[in-house]
Symmetry: C2
Subunit: 326 residues, 2 copies
């Protein structure tokens, strides 16, 4: 019988969970998504994790005997060393869920457990934008701002599972915005998709009638980050200012990491990178203005490449390390 | 003949260089200091490095045969992988100085090369405040703010020798102070000893006659960070506000590292820690307000213990790793 040489990964989100199988280079053989339905309780959630992994293996036309390891990524406060999700805001009412142990026992397979943003960072590092880099910092821009740091094939998880909580690095003292976490001046309060919308609504209220976005408001349409980036691309001045400020905030975040971790690459991921190349070029421009000359010249500033496959690919990659490192 | 089992370290500063010998636990057997005299050129500087190391070995009543490795730490922009100081602002007119190669060739011994703040961090980690920790972040508070990050016995040097340039992490957008480096809003522009004096002089100019520090100014005495901390301890309100704000800025810096590196300890070093326990308690108080609950409860916030021996001890420790890791 052949050695098992594929790796299963699972990325658990607030709405759905995505499982997939990858090969030894991190190439996806396909994936399946099932609803998380956290409100139905953690017993069902755990069973669904195993179900999703099994479905992903079947979808890849493999059997569990072909799989060497499993990796599971979840959001929320966690104890990574213990393999437990503690009190995840996006998975209520789950509490102290022993994810790693449960999945391990159900599948009888070496099982890795990781924070979702860390897993996405590892996925991009291994098989996406970061291929070939020794170190990489990732920012995921969605409802919040997540972060992941990988140095020399190792995810920086920290001593208390709070490594790379990069949305909650403070960038403002004098006039700080309040973050969803309750703290003041966090990056997330400036540069998440939610923050972009909030800053736009404030600007629209302060500048009545000056923007094409007022027409959306008048038609009772939702102002989304996408609508704002589109308006900016079409020449709307108010939207353009919001987008430019966002690029500036993200450049500050990137430079702060260049002066702390000094990685080969800083990668941006998440829905907001649909804004495309012009937005990336503005981030790069601000980085060049603000970073020390050597990292400014040498550090690559890029978009992620794996979309929302990064989580399960990275989770699978973390499992693979258990196998590779014995 | 016995195995050589001592380690020599050298910490090169703008004014003087300090060499010393340590044992396998990082305990100092004594040290010597000689003037750097950078203005006399890098040839003399390199020769003086070797002279200082030899003098330190002699002062420890050892011979070079007792020494297993050497480590040298310097300030300035550098290429750590190449072992070269590039363009050090505090060692003018030195340019592209091949420190590691020169010392290695002169002493015929495995030679490590490190940034001075990184070396101080490694010294505290190995033999000072950080003993027993797995990871540690150090801030040195002097003319500038230096930084060092150690994770699992490894100094985080980064890909372009810019790891842990923590004085140049930006903490303010709206109304940023200009840093000595030319950038805006750097931590160093708020929390170095120089910045504390500058902020105090501004406050004194804005509040004529309200502070005991005005008497120093009137007597043409220099306002030093020490005088400011003393005035605060004696109840001076203006000085007290400066000290409290400084503790707050340093707490922001600590929390930003707790949400990035998530170390076991954050350690403050440099002349400013002469301010003593009350200042440390204020930093700790602000950290508890601002950090996520788990790292807030678990991360130790401490002062350094090795004074200005940390640099040569850490440099020696970096050399010892060459020997220990083969």
């Amino acid at each position: 019988m052949a050695q098992p040489s594929f790796f299963a990964g699972l990325d658990v989100g607030g709405t759905s969970m995505k499982g997939g199988v990858v090969d030894d280079q991190g190439k996806s053989l396909g994936s399946v998504s099932l609803p998380t339905e956290a409100y139905r309780g953690q017993e069902l959630g755990l069973a669904r994790m195993v179900e999703t992994i099994r479905a992903a293996v079947a979808a890849a036309k493999l059997t569990m005997a072909d799989i060497a390891t499993v990796g599971v990524a979840t959001p929320g406060t966690m104890d990574l060393a213990a393999g437990v999700v503690l009190d995840p805001p996006n998975l209520k009412p789950w509490q102290n869920v022993p994810v790693r142990q449960y999945v391990h026992d159900a599948l009888q397979m070496p099982t890795a457990f990781q924070n979702d943003a860390n897993a996405a960072a590892f996925g991009e590092y291994w098989a996406g934008a970061g291929r070939g880099a020794n170190s990489m910092v990732l920012f995921t821009l969605g409802t919040g701002v997540g972060g992941g740091i990988v140095i020399g094939d190792k995810v920086l998880v920290g001593e208390h599972s709070h490594g790379a909580e990069l949305g909650h690095v403070r960038i403002e003292i004098t006039n700080p915005r309040q973050c969803g976490c309750g703290r003041m001046g966090c990056l997330e309060a400036y540069a998440s998709a939610t923050a972009v919308v909030k800053r736009t609504l404030e600007a629209l209220a302060a500048n009545p009638g000056q923007s094409s976005l007022h027409q959306l408001l008048n038609r009772d349409e939702e102002i989304t980050a996408r609508a704002i980036f589109n308006a900016a691309a079409a020449g709307d001045a108010l939207a353009g200012k919001i987008v430019e400020d966002t690029a500036y905030y993200l450049a500050i975040a990137a430079v702060n990491m260049m002066h702390t971790i000094d990685p080969n690459m800083v990668v941006f991921a998440g829905g907001m990178i649909a804004a495309g190349q012009p937005f990336l070029e503005r981030i790069r421009w601000h980085v060049k203005q603000m970073a020390f000359p050597i990292p400014a010249a040498a550090t690559k500033i890029c978009y992620a490449q794996l979309g929302n496959d990064a989580g399960f690919i990275g989770a699978a990659g973390c499992g693979r390390l258990l196998w590779k490192n014995g």
